[in-house]
Each structure stands twice: as structure tokens, then as C-alpha cells.
Symmetry: C2
Subunit: 341 residues, 2 copies
């Protein structure tokens, strides 16, 4: 090959678009292919949702401050989150791992204890996988399978102008947890001082032991709400809302003062002289659900204390805007995490 194009010049999403541009679908059972949190397969009326993640030590997690049991738990949860983000219920997972000889059987048992705890918590079955050595580092691949009533799955592409933009839970905590743990790791490496995590259980927990929003999907079913679009917040609100805008061909207005922020997280952000709003916009790994609903569902949505309405969908021509607390309007910029940079 004569040409060499650096992958970083495309970014992660550009790369995926490029590699999949000639992807052809041959099977009638393939209802929805790559481009959403999960793919959808038809199974004679019932539909199956599939999602997969690949996690590498040193890229996606740091074992110097991540207990293996938490890592096992999180590896499962982040995949289940993708299934829920399709408005589906996860039922099974397959899990593959590769590990170097620095890992003992007891270490793997810890990891699997976390995997089983997540399976128990979410009622999913571990049904297979692959186990191998690596030359260096720990590699985890999880594929989750879920089910959804016919055509009840929710894509990123259905948001309509006028829809309400909602998020579950609180934003930015996982990013602040990561910031804290990275800081303490550096201090430990330089001085040998033990980590000071006093009063930071919330943000550390948000990073190390996230939960998937099963409750929100159950609430949708009970309240008979079908979001017009949905995805999970893995890369940060600004990057993720842009996926919905792009795939739905719409714009948006977000209100900074509506962002759900945790008090403990805010206090830590101010201590580090970080803007909590910036943490919510750019911080990844919250695994909350970002979704849009018709204004007709307003009365239903406002009764759920776990859901915040943070803005509304506009025509694409109006762009992607954020209204700050001071009332200023800014163009939203994607600052989500990009592992390729």
C-alpha cells in the first residue's frame, strides 16, 4: 500500500462511517444494522437486540484503581445500558477475556464475581464466551442480547422538531470520579501518599460501579411512553445529543440551568476549578439515558423524579444551541471522549 492515512484524521465516528459505507445487508431478518446503540434482528415476530463492547486495560480502565470485581460488574452494565437504550430488555450476554500471566486464578474469580453480580442484578444469563492469554494487559469483550416487542425498539433517528429532550439521573459524576482517581494515582506514583477519597464516594462510585437504567425502560412500559429517539450517555451529553441531531436531521436547544447535577459532584468540581456544566457536557461514562419524547407526553414525564427535561428539539436549520444560566446562547460543540485522539 502506497498511501497512509492516519486514523486520527477521521476520528472514531468518521472511521466507523468510512469502514461501514459499503456494508450491504443481505438478510431480511436484519431490521436495524450498525449506527445505533444496538442492532435489531427479527425473530419471527419477536425482535432481538444485540450490542457489543471491547474494553482494553490502559485505554478503557486502569487496574491501579479499578477493583477487578467492579470491572467485571461495569463490563456487563455498559453493554446492558446499550440494550436499554434501544428500549429493549437484556436477556443474555457472552463474555470473552484475555489476560497475561500476571493474573492469578483468584484475580479472575474476583472479576467473574462482579460479572455474576451484574447478571443477578439485571436478570441476564451468561451463556458463553472465549478465554485466552494476552501478551500484556487485560482485554474484555462483551456482547449483550435483548428482546423487544415488535417494532417497539427506539433508534437515534426519530427525534422530531418540538420534542422534549430528557435525561435520566445526574450528569458529569463519572468524569469527576475519573479526574479524582487519576489525580490520586499521580500523587501516589510521585509521593507514595495513599489516595484521599474522603467524601467522594458518589463520584468514585459513578465511575467504578455505574448502573444501567433498567428502571427507566420499565417506567416507559408502565406509563405507555415510547421515546421518539434514545441513546445512552457514554461519551458526554454534547457529543451524544449531536448523534441524535445528526441521525434525526434536527437541531436542539439545551438549557444549562436544567442540567441535573449532583451536589457532591458540583462541590468537587468547584474545588478543582472545573465548571460542573462542562463536566456534564464533555464527561463520558455516565450511562444515563438521553431521549426525546413528544410534547404530548409532558404530563407523564414530569411525574418521574429520575427524569429531567433539559431542552427541546428544533429544525436542523436552527443549529445546536445551549442557553447558559446567564441567558446567553452558544453553539454546542462536540467535546465527547474520543479514544482515537
Amino acid at each position: 500500500m502506497d498511501n497512509r492515512t492516519e486514523i486520527s484524521s477521521l476520528g472514531e465516528f468518521g472511521l466507523i462511517d468510512h469502514l461501514l459505507k459499503n456494508n450491504e445487508i443481505k438478510n431480511a431478518t436484519t431490521i436495524l444494522s450498525a449506527g445505533d446503540d444496538g442492532a435489531v434482528i427479527d425473530q419471527f415476530g419477536r425482535q432481538t437486540v444485540i450490542s457489543t463492547d471491547l474494553l482494553l486495560e490502559g485505554i478503557h480502565f486502569d487496574l491501579s484503581y479499578t477493583p477487578l470485581k467492579h470491572l467485571g460488574y461495569k463490563s456487563v452494565v455498559v453493554n446492558l445500558s446499550d440494550i436499554y437504550a434501544m428500549n429493549a430488555t437484556p436477556t443474555q450476554i457472552v463474555l470473552s477475556i484475555a489476560f497475561s500471566n500476571r493474573f492469578s486464578l483468584e484475580a479472575l474469580e474476583e472479576f467473574y464475581a462482579g460479572v455474576y453480580a451484574a447478571c443477578e442484578q439485571y436478570g441476564v444469563d451468561l451463556i458463553g464466551g472465549d478465554t485466552s492469554t494476552s501478551k500484556k494487559g487485560f482485554v474484555i469483550s462483551v456482547t449483550a442480547i435483548g428482546e423487544v416487542a415488535p417494532d417497539n425498539f427506539v433508534k437515534r433517528s426519530g427525534a422530531k422538531s418540538g420534542d422534549l429532550i430528557c435525561v435520566s439521573g445526574e450528569l458529569g459524576g463519572a468524569f469527576l470520579g475519573l479526574t479524582l482517581l487519576e489525580r490520586e494515582r499521580k500523587i501516589f506514583e510521585e509521593t507514595g501518599a495513599q489516595p484521599d477519597l474522603e467524601g467522594q464516594a458518589y463520584i468514585v462510585g459513578r465511575l467504578l460501579k455505574p448502573e444501567a437504567r433498567k428502571d427507566i425502560i420499565e417506567y416507559f412500559a408502565e406509563a405507555e411512553i415510547k421515546p421518539s429517539s434514545m441513546m445512552d450517555l457514554s461519551d458526554g451529553l454534547s457529543s451524544d445529543i449531536m448523534h441524535i441531531c445528526k441521525q434525526s436531521e434536527v437541531g436542539c436547544v439545551l438549557y444549562e440551568d436544567k442540567f441535573p447535577l449532583n451536589d457532591e459532584a458540583k462541590a468537587f468540581a468547584y474545588k478543582l476549578q472545573l465548571d460542573p456544566t462542562a463536566c456534564a457536557l464533555s464527561g463520558g461514562e455516565d450511562y444515563e439515558l438521553l431521549f426525546t419524547v413528544s410534547q404530548d407526553d409532558y404530563e407523564k414525564i414530569k411525574t418521574n423524579p429520575s427524569v429531567s427535561i433539559i431542552g427541546y428539539v428544533t429544525d436542523a436549520a436552527e443549529g445546536k444551541q445551549i442557553i447558559t444560566r446567564g441567558g446567553n446562547k452558544h453553539e454546542l460543540v462536540a467535546q465527547g471522549w474520543n479514544h482515537l485522539k
Copy 2:
């Protein structure tokens, strides 16, 4: 943790048994869990088969002699082989990759060209995945999804005393291909001499571009044969037949003179002073199908030129035997590939 048990003390299969021993199945839709080439999920009458593999550079493949296009093709094919080994038809795959910055866009395009070629060849859809950087090396995870008519899937555990033991195709070629390429790589590193692969296209092809035996599954359907047990040959005949014997609680007798060996492979084995039979028994990655059928199917099976009957199933008490060309009887020993050693 106070104790440290080396994983190598259990071996790959011992490790899997250990980690899965407390695995509980909670969903009625989980029909078959870990322990076979694929898991089976019920989908309202129709059944879905799932299989996954994790492949790491330096462990499962060597990019110094593996063209990326072939690697992409093979990464898909080895998973499809697992689906066929369940007597099912693959329909979709999800593919995740991680790669360091030494890989250019053009390199990934080559890899995906192979992936798409395999999807085209076998009529499966690529429906999703995950893309990430790695610190070092190339990591590939593929999960394949297939379908099978209700309860028509074939496990490893159904072999009965008296059944015929059969294999498709020819054995040992991939191992000889690997031996040749490893030898040429060492010579290149030491002397700079270009590889001499003259007349070795067959064995090199068996390693670098294996095919999955879709034709055999189609033949089963046409001939109305349902094997009593089946798996694909990924670790070598001796290791793999032992899985069937263990899971079916039976013994076996294999006849060395019935092993299907390729002339070119045999010639190369003799040149290296290797026993072609040992290559068939211990060499992995042939991706042929190993299966057992009732003696009632003998008349049907013998008409298929791609299938060799290499022995028969016995009671467990009779052990696992091989009858050599000279008529001697030996106890079979598992010498399959074990990535953990």
C-alpha cells in the same frame, strides 16, 4: 488476596469450568449455555445460536506473515464455523476491533475488505461492533448469530455407543502451514532471506484462509441427517474428540488409516520429519467438522466425498483408543493447542 493460583495449573478448559461452575441460568429463553461451540436462545419457537471469539495479535495471529485481508476473512470464518458446528445457519455478525496508531486507514480497509468478502461468501450481515485504540497490537472480537429450526441444533453431548465418527475435509494442513510460515519468519529474521513457499499453497491457504463447512450443514439438511454430536476442529482432532467423549460420556476408537490427509501436506510433513497423523491429531485450526452419526445413516454418509468415517463411538469404559496403521492400539492423549500454556 492472599492466595495465588497460577492459571496455567488449570489449563484453558479447566479454567472455563472453574469460572462457570456457579453460573446460574435465570431466563427460560436460554436453552443451551456455555460448553458447546455456540449457545442457543429460544425466540418464540425459532432458535438463535450465538458464538464468539477473541483474537489477539501475537497470540492468535502474526501480522508478519498474515495479510490483513486474510485476517479479516478468517476472523469471520472461524466464528461462522462455530455456528455451523451447532447445525445452524449464520445470519449476522458483530465485530469489534482495537488497533494501535501503527495501523493506517488503508490497513483497516484491507482488514474490512476481508471481513466483507467473508460476509458475502457466507451470506451474513455485519450489523454492529465497537472500534477503539489499543496501546499495542491488534485485537479482534467477533460474535456470530445464527438460526436453526426448533431443537435441530446439535450439541457435543449426544454421541452414543456404536455411532460412527466422521470428519469433513482433510486434517493437519493448517498446522503444517503454520509450521512453514513460522520457519520462514525465523529464517527471514536471521538472514533476511525471502520466504520460500514454493509448492506450499495448499498448507499456507489452510492456515491463512480457512473456510467454514457450510456445505456439510446443507448436505445434512438435504440428506435428512441429524448428527448425534458435532463440533468444529479448532484445537486438533485428539483434543476435540475428547470433548465429545467427555460431554457425551462415551469412549472412541479411531483408525489412523482412515484419517483424511492431503498429499501436499503429507509431503511437507515428511520433509520436516513430522508424522502427518500427529499433525492431524494435534494440529489446530483446520475448521473442519467433527461429528457422530447413527449407524443407520451409514448408507447416506458414505456417498458424500467430503466426509470420512474415521472411527466409532464406544462405551466410556473402553477408553479412547487409536488403532495405528500397523494395527497397534494406543490410548489417545489430548495434545490440542492450549493458548494458556
